[in-house]
Subunit: 389 residues, 2 copies
């Protein structure tokens, strides 16, 4: 059997396992992404062992492309203009939902004697609410049009932006662990890149869109978006940032053009094919056996608890003026972490800041918060907006 | 700079070069695919040398996925039912357009003293008309609705099927070069697989489509199509066939379902992203320097001439009853080779049957036939069908 045949068999195995398990989880009313992670844990080296990693490098490359296109589409959902409309409450919910989990998470890890970089990465992995999971749940229970839902979605978008900035700072701090000056320099450069693309880039996009529309050739906006996404991802890598930050910014830039719906539609198939490789690879790297150790199991429980409490207290406090029920609803709606937490953890694993056991703890936290929040959310009675409004 | 950053840079380089050159070629009224091949030649190791091959294997994996999805979509355009309607002329044009180029091409290579496997692969690379290029040209000049165009499209579809069967036989003959019995056994098994999927598979698809429609989850037909495509491609590889044959058959199976338009639409983005990797890698493997050798240049001219004459005489003769102008139009319309010729050549290169110089000759033949035919086609005066008919 040739080399390419083996690779094709593994590509089929990964995609089949992801979609089959994802389908089962969807039938169990769980997000498909959790199914894909579980598929990775199952076929990975620590369970059935059908998928060996690194798999000639190809699975990692497809996974990297998948997460780049995933973060591009998260950026595509992040329109700067829409942040203005959600108001002060959403900003406060977003910000205090970042601060408390970060402080609690990194505090715990630091207190049990782990190194500072590890504590910083755990904190960063605990901050970002999964926009995708939350939107799906709110839509499933028919509450997407309530004020509470708009606050949650607005806060989740602010969350994403702050999480990316935090990731830049944490990565910079971990890399430049030599001097405070270097940390400062890296952070300033990184923030400069982020702010430049997010402000000037989006303005160029808005001004340039009519020019692009005259390009005539079909699929031009899609191709240009892929180019911008890959280009900024590569550039981010070159200047020492995570590639996903470039992809996220590229998405924010395209979000300002009039073609962003069309681009989003056409990215769907790319994501549908490539994103499962990311979650399966992330699942395969998760060593479930670390939880047989009582100490790690306790740590996982602690991280999970702080991840939940951080959002509940932080976001509930920030929205307290809306009343107890609404504040509870918003706070629970902000709990699911999903993809961004796992992405941050995978970067920590890749740069050596997170050891394998802590990586597995974060993946477990992401799975549990994502699975636990929706059933609770459905049971909080808030005023429903009548259909068709 | 990390390993993944380097890979991302090369992915961006390949995609950017492909799209930029493709765009220039489209402005010159040439098919984008030729531009992508030229991009590969330019950035490849024999010219500027920016792209090294093998590129950690990732470019080859993306190229393989690209050609698999490309052949899937060629299969998707191959509806068995539509062959019945184009009639006897199309079948005759298709068949004699296969036989003559194969005999002429392999004959020439055999006569100049090259080994039999090489002769067989050159013959096989000369047979298949590029449906995509032809359809685009016919549509550009507003002649897609003429009888001549329907004959060309029908014949090109028959061409594709026969080319795949021929590829199975040639690969079998080259591999099992030990005994005639083995050649026979491989051929029978391969043909059995092709015929089984093409007949029973398409019937199952037609019967099973209503069941699949009840799966509820979004994008289900697309995901199932990707699974079938990757699955049959991997299976083809396991039983010793080219993966693209499995992908082509998967496309034929999905073509029989009521969802084939939807699936085709959703495959567009995947193809748009992955197919350029195939043509850039194929271009990068083309050593233009072989044409500095007068002997190889003569050989290239001979292969090009026979590729053109084979189709002109074979297809012109088969359609002679339609009158000189129509027969000329059909014959010229069948000349462009494009992707399938290059795919066959790449398989010959991979299995060692084609040496690098002959591979470059085939790529040149595919480029020249694709570039030369359309301007001639536009100048043959056939009766236009009035607009809106």
């Amino acid at each position: 059997m040739g080399h390419m045949t083996e690779i094709l068999n593994e590509i089929f195995l990964i995609f089949f396992a992801a979609k089959a398990t994802g389908w089962v989880f969807q039938k169990l009313k769980q997000p498909a992404v959790i199914g894909e992670l579980v598929a990775g844990i199952l076929i990975g080296p620590y369970a059935f062992g059908w998928l060996k990693l690194p798999a000639n490098g190809f699975a990692e490359v497809l996974a990297e492309l998948g997460v780049i296109f995933l973060l591009f589409s998260v950026g595509l959902d992040t329109q700067i203009g829409s942040l203005k409309s959600v108001g002060k409450t959403a900003v406060m919910v977003g910000v205090s939902g970042i601060v408390l989990p970060f402080v609690l998470g990194s505090g715990l890890v630091y207190l049990i004697g782990r190194p500072t970089p590890e504590a910083l990465f755990v904190g960063a992995a605990l901050v970002a609410t999964s926009v995708g999971v939350t939107a799906r749940v709110l839509s499933d229970v028919g509450l997407l049009k309530t004020t509470e839902a708009r606050v949650i979605m607005g806060a989740a978008v602010i969350d994403d932006i702050l999480a990316m900035i935090l990731l830049v700072i944490v990565s910079g701090a971990v890399k430049g662990s030599i001097s405070l000056t270097q940390i400062g320099a890296i952070t300033v450069m990184a923030l400069g890149f982020v702010i430049f693309v997010a402000t000037v880039g989006t303005r160029i996009a808005r001004a340039g869109a009519p020019v692009i529309e005259n390009f005539e050739t079909t699929h031009e906006p899609f191709v240009l978006s892929v180019l911008l996404c890959l280009g900024l991802a590569a550039l981010a890598g070159v200047i020492g940032l995570a590639a996903i930050i470039g992809a996220f910014l590229a998405g924010m830039v395209v979000a300002e053009t009039s073609e962003h719906w069309d681009v989003e539609m056409r990215f769907l198939s790319l994501k549908e094919f490539l994103v499962p490789f990311f979650f399966v690879v992330m699942g395969a790297r998760t060593d479930w056996r670390v939880f047989l150790n009582a100490e790690i199991l306790g740590l996982a429980a602690g991280v999970f608890l702080l991840a939940v409490l951080g959002k509940l207290i932080g976001c509930g406090w920030a929205s307290r003026k809306m009343g107890f029920r609404s504040a509870s609803f918003i706070a629970v709606g902000m709990v699911p972490r999903g993809e961004v937490g796992i992405i941050v953890a995978s970067l920590g694993l890749a740069c050596g800041a997170l050891p394998a056991d802590m990586y597995s703890v974060i993946v477990m936290m992401a799975i549990l918060t994502t699975v636990a929040a929706p059933p609770v959310l459905e049971r909080i009675p808030i005023r429903r907006v009548p259909e068709g409004v």
